[in-house]
Amino acid sequence: MRNVAIIGCGQTKHASRRRDVNVAEMVADAAWNAMEDAQVTPDEVDSIVDGNMQGFGGIAQAEQWMGEWIGAPGKPVLRIATGGTTGGSVAQAAYYQVASGLSDIALAVAWEKHSDSKEAGATTGLLHVALGNFFHTFNYGMDLKSLVATAAVGAAAGVAVYQARHYMHRSGCRIEHLDMVAAKDRSNAAKNKYAHLQWPNCTPDDIAKTKMIVEPFRYGHICPASDGASAVVFASEDIAKKKTDRPAWIKGLASYSDEENQMMSENSGGTGIIDASEQMACRLSAMKAYEMAGIKDPQKEIDVAEIYQPFPSQELIFAERLGLFDETTAWKATEEGETEIDGRMPLDPSGGTNATNAIGSSAMQRVLEAALQVMGKAEEHQVPKDVHNAVAHGWGGVTNYIVVTVLGDSPRR
């Protein structure tokens, strides 16, 4: 197997409305930053993979008219879109471009410009999915169960509420712990110059004062809808060693789909996953990625994790599913400060998706931030210890898509 490493990362400043740039300019900004960071010219890039949530921003197949902005003409370009996991899926496809031997240098680009569409993209995305299902039932018969299931979804926040409730019920986690997670993420974001919601020294009390939106989520728990883009340059072993002293090696990766979500499963012949926090796909992805990476005990061998957590409960759920904590204990570890930037197992030192959510790009940002930690280039939010292995996670679909990437400071043997 060919070894592949990340040799350069680029991203844009994130904000609710990037009125200073159009979508192509924003994406180009990230792509050129990444190429500059990797010290490669557009001519050296063999192939490009791109993606965002389709329909968001009111555009389709953007790589076709945006190609010139990122140096695409004359090269293989692959477009990947898998919902919330898009960025992670794009990064993994770029990895495969190089791992397959078809390319030596591949550029992965992902973005979202929510402010270009009238809907508040970030949370209505899933509502569209639900509505798609809703209209579907008109054709093939509407039963009460489908109607209730559709009405109950309530977009991304609606799904996350059920998921959080399940987790809290079985783990003993309380809403105070969600406040702690959100406060940690927002104060971490204040150290990340590209992050959207920056709140220096935010405390759980500050979060607790924000308005309750829907039990158990307060306003302070919920991710923003951001405009922003990220880009990563992947390279083969020879090139990585030539271009940089400390590349971030891709040691393991997987992108499993779960069985269908709780609202669909009963109606469409699934096995009925009632507990949306079970997340079998995340367990499977983590197992496969760790096996490839030769990691036997993630609790000891992983030094930092970037988890896709638009809602704080998801940081806890997925940290457990990634094997970073024992079942039902992530909230206790949070209480004890283990997940802080200087803790035993720092989670989302960048602030994560909770602070910055340009959906199509969010899962790639996790890979990018994990790479920065391995390369020692995370500046103010660099964790104060040696990072040998980092794990990046992405979540999407209707709670059923997962991407997991393990990065390390040495190539796979």
Binding site: Q64, T82, E260, N400
Partner: protein, 382 residues
């Protein structure tokens, strides 16, 4: 050279038609199950699944969410490309070449009867400059290209209609094709409804509902699975500049993609070495431009190949014996169907439209206005 040999070991496609009267889930399930059955393996043998669909064409956000169960991707390492299925096959190939996976299931589909795909295509243009007055879509841009090509190389409407006549008559023998016209004439093509001059109903691909799936396997697995593997000997893909900024007189990215694929497969004279070609010609003139980009003839000479019957089923270099995209175009499945049709020719399974003695075949998939993105596969038998 690829660092691992990969073969096509099974495939299935739907009977393409305008309104399939089947849910997307059912349609996708049928081809996925069919491809596994054809390969003689079960879902448990599949390592990875790559699908192809677009949200605009499917009319749903994250359209693959509801298809993971149907295609058998659940609890598997999977992903989705948002373009033609031939690109999904390319991604699946990369996954196997990396050594991380051995067996991949690839699926692509579109139900064009759900949304008018030509209307949807207008969203794929530059939102700042090109969508404001609503004149551009895939058909109107193809019309500009066709007219430029006709003017540039002195090609007549009759010569372009010749492509439709050949392909639609070929389709008559293909049970999966949608538009079968055994007795079609050039006059009929030229009297069909005019969309955008010179594009007519019979020089544009029809709107189809359809799906296609295939199974790829690494050399070791392929030999276990089948006695009749179809090897992927070469592959190339390329994207052109945006329609505003490119030379529409040729399909430049197809030329680059083909050169790469030829080099990988060790083909120096495609005209002599290829036994059959399956091209995604969404418009009749694109097939002529395709001949040129694929180096079957010099620039502007595509018309001669059709006129002299060289690309007929009985010709020296048969192109689209299945009827091609003009016979059925379930958009995200079309390129994948070309791969399957080329593989069928090599496995001698193309009942009724089999070309004798096929050892090497070319399959082509495209996406975007005026074939902006292209992927070429070179397939070979044992």
């Amino acid at each position: 050279m690829m660092n691992r040999r990969v073969a096509i070991v099974g495939y299935a496609q739907s009977r393409h038609q305008y309104d399939m009267q089947q849910t997307r889930e059912d349609m996708v399930f049928d081809v996925a199950k069919g491809a596994l059955k054809d390969a003689g393996i079960g879902r448990e043998d599949v390592d990875t699944v790559i699908t192809a669909s677009t949200d605009f064409l499917d009319g749903r956000t994250i359209s693959n969410v509801f298809l993971s169960m149907a295609v058998g991707a659940y609890l598997k390492d999977e992903s989705k490309v948002e373009e033609d299925g031939a690109f999904a096959a390319l991604y699946a190939l990369m996954r196997i070449l990396s050594g991380n996976h051995d067996i991949a299931l690839v699926e692509g589909h579109t139900q064009a009867s759900v949304f008018n795909p030509h209307q949807v295509s207008s969203f794929t243009f530059d939102p700042t400059f090109d969508r404001q007055i609503g004149l551009l879509n895939d058909v109107s841009t193809a019309a500009i290209q066709a007219r430029m090509y006709m003017n540039g190389y002195d090609v007549s409407e009759e010569q372009i209609a010749g492509v439709s006549v050949k392909n639609l008559a070929n389709a008559a023998n293909n049970p999966n094709a949608q538009r079968k016209m055994p007795d079609i004439t050039v006059e009929e093509v030229l009297s069909s409804k005019l969309y955008y001059d010179p594009i007519r109903e019979l020089t544009i691909s029809p709107s189809s509902d359809g799906a296609c799936a295939l199974v790829l396997a690494s050399e070791e697995k392929a030999k276990e699975i089948t006695d009749n593997p179809v090897w992927i000997e070469g592959v190339g893909s390329c994207q052109d500049s945006y329609i505003r900024d490119r030379d529409l007189l040729k399909i430049g990215s197809l030329q680059i993609a083909a050169e790469k694929a030829y080099k990988m497969a060790g083909i120096s004279d495609p005209f002599a070495e290829l036994d059959v070609l399956e091209i995604s010609e969404k418009f009749a003139h694109e097939e002529l431009m395709g001949y040129e980009a694929l180096s079957l003839c010099r620039e502007g000479r595509g018309k001669v190949l059709v006129e002299e019957g060289i690309t007929e089923k009985y010709g020296e270099v048969p192109v689209n014996p299945s009827g091609g995209a003009l016979a059925a175009d379930p958009i995200c499945a079309t390129g994948l169907i070309r791969i399957v049709e080329a593989a069928k020719q090599i496995r001698e399974e193309a009942d009724g439209y089999q070309i004798p003695d096929v050892y090497k075949a070319l399959a082509h998939g495209q996406f975007g206005a005026c074939a902006q993105k292209n992927v070429v596969f070179i397939l070979g038998g044992e």
